[in-house]
């Protein structure tokens, strides 16, 4: 018999693209390995992974929140409370005891929807955030936001002509998942000239085009704060989007994983869609996603998150429960971290001071780096960068010369991928080209994270590279 070939596999899989861990990231890993050998001939001494929002990775080393890790360690090995007296603050010991009484061992499968007590805490967090009721029955804990998004997209794509409205640029999880489940993306463009604003007109244009092509829109994806853009939606716009979902019968998928990464909260605050849907008493089906991987916890490796369903019928909740039960349960340490996310230490508790100091420091460093990097990038010829008010990224637009574009084409690369590959080759900095997120035709971008310590050195390398690139290919 012939061996198994790629052509014999699910054709949808071939169409999946995920640039965040694509060609550049793979090459960066190869460089990282090569750096370990002497006389490797590379013009840099370390690889800087700016391609992915992974705060605790080696080389970035954002420290974990002590409170979260103390609790996690006690959940792993409860005997430590006795074996190491005085090492754990009293509130951590109490919290661990409470969770152990509810859960038993974290080595056991939990309820497939997530530990009931933790879902109660999530509901309470949402109620305090928004001022409107939240029901633990509507909350599902997940292995990161991605798992929930993938479940919903695959559930909503009921026919081959089903489509999902996604912002461009977008986090490529959306295009990847839509491709995997053979649906149709319905792109709507964000406005880079206006702080990556979301415009109702753009969405209506996209809906009109979808209608002409026979694509049936099922849901609207909104990423707020934006990824890769860092933009924050104003309440007026959010209300317009809710009205639009009402009018067109769309499910609103609200990716709100960066809700606590706010660099200018006074001018650019975060308002959840849940709050506005509740306030307006809208009946649109809403699914809101949150995660432990972002914010100040940055606990990407544990795989934890949750989604809350609003205006979703009990029958559909039962269907979702059935589907998640096949995967048994989300990782327990991810669930424990969700509990910490929604229930941080309070004023007066033993762990509060340290928690406050650690989280303040992370917030401040990120806001400062974002601002500094944006202003320095904006000084470069042909670079135009919105100073992100939220999330972990910048998404500068770069003007590329005809010569650079022609050279890229000759190499079989998108022009921004061509730029990013040279950046990696020369400096060891790994970013993701805009073609991985989507952009208006004829414009070029890249996304980089604002997580790197040593901004001076980092931006210095970017500047030197950019000026050299322009010398080679013209402005």
């Amino acid at each position: 018999m012939a061996p198994l070939t790629v052509e014999s596999l699910n054709p949808s899989f071939l169409k999946v693209e995920y640039a965040v861990r694509g060609e550049l990231a793979i090459k960066a890993e190869e460089y990282r390995t090569k750096l370990k050998t002497p006389n490797n001939g590379l013009p840099f001494d370390r690889v800087i992974s700016s391609n992915i929002g992974n705060p605790q990775q080696k080389g970035l080393d954002q420290p974990p929140i002590t409170f979260a890790r103390q609790l996690a360690a006690l959940m792993e090995y409860p005997a430590l409370a006795e074996l190491a007296p005085g090492v754990f603050p009293e509130d951590v010991v109490q919290r661990a005891k409470q969770l152990q009484e509810e859960i038993g061992s974290i080595g056991a499968y939990s309820h497939s929807q997530g530990v009931p007590l933790i879902r109660e805490h999530v509901a309470k967090f949402i109620e305090e955030r928004d001022g409107y009721p939240s029901d633990p029955k509507n909350i599902f804990l997940t292995a990161g936001a991605s798992a929930g998004v993938s479940l919903f997209i695959s559930m909503l794509l009921s026919t081959p002509d089903s489509g999902i409205l996604i912002p461009i640029p977008q986090y490529p999880l959306y295009t990847a998942t839509i491709a995997q489940f053979a649906g149709k993306p319905i792109p709507y463009y964000l406005d880079g000239s206006a702080e990556w604003n979301t415009s109702l007109e753009e969405i209506k244009t996209a809906l009109k085009k979808a209608d002409e092509e026979g694509t049936k829109p099922k849901a609207l994806v909104v990423i707020n704060p934006g990824n890769p853009t860092g933009a924050l939606l104003m309440e007026d716009t959010q209300i317009e989007l809710i009205r639009l979902c009402e009018k067109y019968g769309l499910v609103l998928l609200a990716d709100e994983v960066y809700q606590s990464n706010l660099h200018s909260p006074a001018s650019h605050p975060f308002t959840s869609f849940k709050k506005l849907v509740s306030k307006l008493q809208s009946s649109i089906p809403l699914v809101s996603f949150h995660s432990i991987s972002k914010g100040v916890m940055g606990e990407c490796g544990r795989r934890g998150g949750y989604f809350e369903c609003t205006n979703i019928s009990p029958e559909i909740l039962a269907l979702i429960y059935k589907m998640v039960s096949v995967g048994l349960c989300p990782p327990l340490q991810g669930q424990i971290a969700v509990d910490t996310l929604v229930r941080p230490p309070k004023v007066g508790e033993p762990s509060y001071a340290k928690w406050k100091e650690e989280t303040d420091k992370i917030h401040a460093a990120l806001a400062e780096r974002t601002k500094l990097m944006a202003s320095r990038l904006n000084l470069l010829p042909g670079v135009n960068c919105v100073n992100s008010p939220g999330a972990l990224y910048l998404y500068p637009e770069i003007t590329l010369s005809d010569k650079a574009i022609a050279e890229a084409k000759k190499n079989g690369k998108e022009p921004d991928a061509f730029y990013a590959l040279q950046l990696l080759d020369e400096t060891g900095i790994c970013v993701v080209p805009g073609s991985g997120f989507g952009q208006r035709e004829g414009t070029w971008h890249y996304r980089l994270t604002c997580l790197c310590p040593g901004v001076e050195e980092y931006v210095g390398k970017l500047e030197k590279f950019h000026n050299g690139f322009i010398q080679r290919y013209g402005a």
Copy 2:
């Protein structure tokens, strides 16, 4: 606009069934909640969850392996090595240091395929188990075996007429996943009268029937040791199955998660398919799944496992890498536990004695309980139970009277579900009816785990119930 309805969703989702967490399990949870209220009127004082192989769950309380948890705690909170001197054995401290040097923080995303060093350890474990080479490039760490199985089944179902050969009875992950991705199950029957033997003739009959129905077989699923049957394949049979896959161009999906749950290893040893494929120099594509959830670790809640690809081309490996990268990475604590699974303490190391004592005890208790329960069940009228040589379950056949069957029908239930519901209502014991795993028409079974301590009380309740059921409905 009309609200979101079940009918508007992906129709494949409606066909998914997963009995292990189905009607009975949901009812058992309701009883568990009800038991907390005084004067609840229930005829039992606790619910015994025999529906799922979840060794560490509350009420079963199989203790975690100390070595595994000490390591996990140090990975969560590395400062403990200094803060709690003397608490951690030296080999645990060294192991944690080595892993921390490789991984950095477990709060960071790892390589999407799993931490390279851990994959090296997995490859070494396989080489030592089988005596044949294994390459870390072919190994993918996963969030439990289920995640890998789901990925492969969805990848192999390339057309609507694609089918997957599955044993009956089977672990319902397989039927659920095939339904989710709109493929066709091709059932082949195991022989309950011959220790749940796998017969080549049965598979050929199934292939013939599939051919007549226009179904194209893509893969053969084998569960060894069996679930729910506990059966172990003999090498001769395994070789026949490999030859069959060669002949029909099938991918062999080998679910080997119970490979270390062996109760009579002398008469019923485990041989991996990887070993035999290597020995025969067969070119069949083979994917072998393993897990931290079973064996003696029973670390279900962490979600960890791996699969090894054999005779799978680099192009397909790249495709798999791309697909898993969209989900970012398996949970880090699951990966750490895989490392422990494949690299337990060795003779002479400080943790060895304790590890040996703990694991011996778990093995012995399981083997003893399985044997005792099977022999007691076999004494009951109308019950016929293979004494499982492996895995965590028994799968007794029960003869049900016409009266019982008629009564079940009247209640809209499968006869074995009717039996299992009454068992739950009367005793608080939750099992899974055979209709959830599949069985020959006109035969009835249920699956129960052999994880419960207090076998006397447990089997006593089963016996009393069964005799009462027969009194009510006749033998």
